[in-house]
């Protein structure tokens, strides 16, 4: 029983990471109509930007988060302006190819600048709290923070989407592009904000992953498959669905280790995704097919 509870906690931590990535993937898909394959490497680059910031100023690991989010938001807008904007007018699938190329460019940049070895934000072991009233559940402070901060970020995105003009414009564009454009929504600004949010959340996911495990140039790429699985599960183009999808995928991946070798964890995400594609491709929350 306590094993299951423990895995549930790990699952929710992983789910928080995946949700941060999947919200961005889903929003970008909703606005620009393409699957953003560089999103995993946005996570990686974000995590490393955070590392660069805290090691330059000798700060503690959590300072990596705001630095990474701001840095990655800027990088995302920059990449959109320099590359994606130029090919946006052609078919969306060309953007898909470009983002695939961008994924490799970002990863090789990370390798060139920071090398290919594992790195960590802070050395040493963190002692978990032992919660006796929960069957001896062990909870690391970092894990608690990851879950709480993602909750906060999700609430922030929610407030933005429901209470600001730009947020409403974004939802309108995602629901019905043509109608939104003829009613005079500033498309370029909405797209820019989409990249700001997508980039910042990807960076948060990367920093969480880095704090939970370690930093490595392929950390984001290997997480991309579960992130996409989460986005599809929640209904692609639906940011709220992405949160549910992230949690379901995260918990399933961790729980699966009770039954199958841990090496096959990504296979669980993949299996859920394939099952979803067969049974209900529009996702739980009816996204864009």
């Amino acid at each position: 029983m306590s094993d299951i509870l423990q895995l549930l906690v790990y699952g929710l931590v992983l789910g928080s990471v995946l949700a941060m990535g999947a919200i961005g993937v889903s929003m970008i898909f909703g606005i620009l109509r393409f699957a953003h394959f560089a999103h995993g490497d946005f996570m990686t680059l974000g995590a490393y930007l955070g590392l660069a910031f805290i090691s330059a100023f000798g700060l503690s690991s959590w300072w990596a988060l705001p630095a990474a989010m701001v840095g990655m938001a800027v990088v995302a807008v920059f990449i959109d302006q320099v590359l994606y904007r130029r090919i946006r007018r052609t078919q969306p699938v060309i953007l898909l190819i470009a983002s695939f190329g961008m994924a490799l460019i970002l990863r090789s940049l990370v390798q060139l600048i920071w090398g290919s070895d594992n790195q960590t934000y802070a050395s040493g072991i963190q002692f978990p709290w032992r919660l006796d009233w929960l069957g001896g559940l062990r909870l690391k402070p970092d894990h608690l923070w990851i879950m709480l901060i993602s909750l906060g970020l999700v609430a922030g995105v929610h407030l933005f989407l429901t209470h600001t003009r730009l947020g409403k414009a974004m939802r309108a564009m995602s629901d019905n592009m043509d109608l939104a454009l003829i009613s005079g929504i500033p498309a370029e600004r909405v797209i820019m904000v989409t990249w700001v949010i997508g980039g910042a959340l990807a960076a948060a996911a990367g920093v969480f992953l880095g704090i939970d495990t370690r930093l490595h140039p392929v950390m984001g790429w290997t997480t991309l498959l579960p992130v996409f699985a989460a986005a599809i599960l929640g209904g692609i183009g639906r940011p709220y669905g992405a949160i549910a999808g992230g949690m379901i995928i995260g918990v399933s991946m961790e729980m699966s280790t009770l039954l199958i070798p841990a090496a096959y964890k990504p296979a669980v995400a993949f299996a859920i995704m394939v099952g979803m594609l067969i049974l209900r491709p529009q996702g739980i929350f009816k996204g864009t097919v």
Binding site: F29, A35, I87, F100, I105, Q111, L225, I232, M273, P281
Partner: protein
């Protein structure tokens, strides 16, 4: 001495380019003709390579093998295995937007890699399979040059096949699906079934490429594929050469393989302690090359030229 060195480099260069040309032709069937976005090329490639290796190597206690089948049987096995994989993936994704195929296909490539890495009884895991012979290994014909001839013959065979497919009514339907899906459906064509056929045929060709690779390189391991780079290179080749154009696919394979090998010559000049950085630099350059092509010349070196419709006989 100098001359034979260059000659043997050239033979090896052309053989690799030929193997990549097979992969690019397979991808052209899926992406260039039909507009299906498969970025799991490495998965189909690996399945083909491992199937052929397992069928042809002598027995070993470490992994399943010892069938000792001839080269051509190995290649046939490679084609069958990748066809089956293509069929499974195609059946799931043929009805969906191509973005879903793209996402599912990285999943497939990843699953194949995980499987190869973890199921040591079948594939010898990370230690890999060594000693995969070239065809006619005991005869004088086992030279690298003879293998180049074999690869060229296969490239030519595949080229003739896909070129005929392109000009046929079947190929016309594929292009129609790519250009305008609703109109093709309105004309009474089953989109899903044509997509599935093109996808499976393309996968089979990639499997053949994998088999050819296994017998040329002689050693397979999950990391030797550099799965992502394999997929990525094939994509850059097809887009640089001109997607939709089969000659473009072959030309792209030779040119991009030349650029890729050329960057290797350059980065070899760097001191060895920077070896990993050098590899990253090469990927970076190829990535930038792709973006430049996409922005400046998205139609590639040899743009697609659909066959002119012959005027109807009166």
């Amino acid at each position: 001495m100098e001359l034979t060195g260059i000659a043997s480099y050239l033979v090896s260069f052309l053989t690799f380019a030929g193997i990549y040309a097979v992969l690019a032709l397979g991808l052209n069937m899926q992406w260039g003709f039909t507009g299906q976005f498969n970025i799991g090329v490495a998965g189909f490639f690996a399945v083909g390579a491992y199937t052929s290796a397992i069928l042809t190597t002598p027995s070993s206690p470490d992994y399943l093998g010892g069938f000792g089948m001839p080269f051509l049987v190995g290649l046939a096995g490679a084609i069958i295995a990748s066809t089956l994989l293509g069929l499974v993936v195609g059946l799931i994704t043929a009805r969906l937007r191509t973005d879903y195929l793209a996402i599912a296909s990285i999943g497939i490539a990843e699953m194949v890699r995980l499987f190869v890495k973890n199921e040591g009884w079948l594939t010898n895991g990370v230690r890999g399979i060594a000693g995969i012979d070239r065809p006619m290994a005991d005869t004088a014909l086992a030279s690298p040059f003879a293998y180049l001839v074999i690869v060229v013959l296969f490239v030519a065979g595949v080229y003739v096949l896909v070129e005929r497919a392109y000009g046929s009514p079947w190929g016309r339907v594929l292009r129609a699906i790519r250009e305008n899906e609703p109109a093709t459906a309105a004309a009474g064509k089953s989109i899903a079934s044509f997509r599935l056929q093109a996808f499976v045929l393309g996968s089979a060709i990639m499997g053949l490429g994998g088999g050819l690779y296994a017998h040329f390189f002689g050693f397979l391991s999950p990391e030797a594929f550099m799965p992502l780079y394999g997929t990525f290179l094939v994509w850059v080749m097809l887009i640089a050469g001109g997607s939709g154009n089969n000659r473009g696919a072959i030309l792209g394979a030779i040119v991009v393989w030349g650029v890729w090998s050329g960057t290797a010559l350059l980065t070899d000049l760097l001191p060895t302690e920077h070896a990993t950085q050098a590899a990253a630099l090469r990927v970076l350059l190829i990535g930038v090359l792709l973006q430049v092509i996409l922005v400046l010349r998205p139609e590639g070196i040899l743009p697609e030229k659909p066959p002119r419709l012959t005027s109807r006989k009166r």
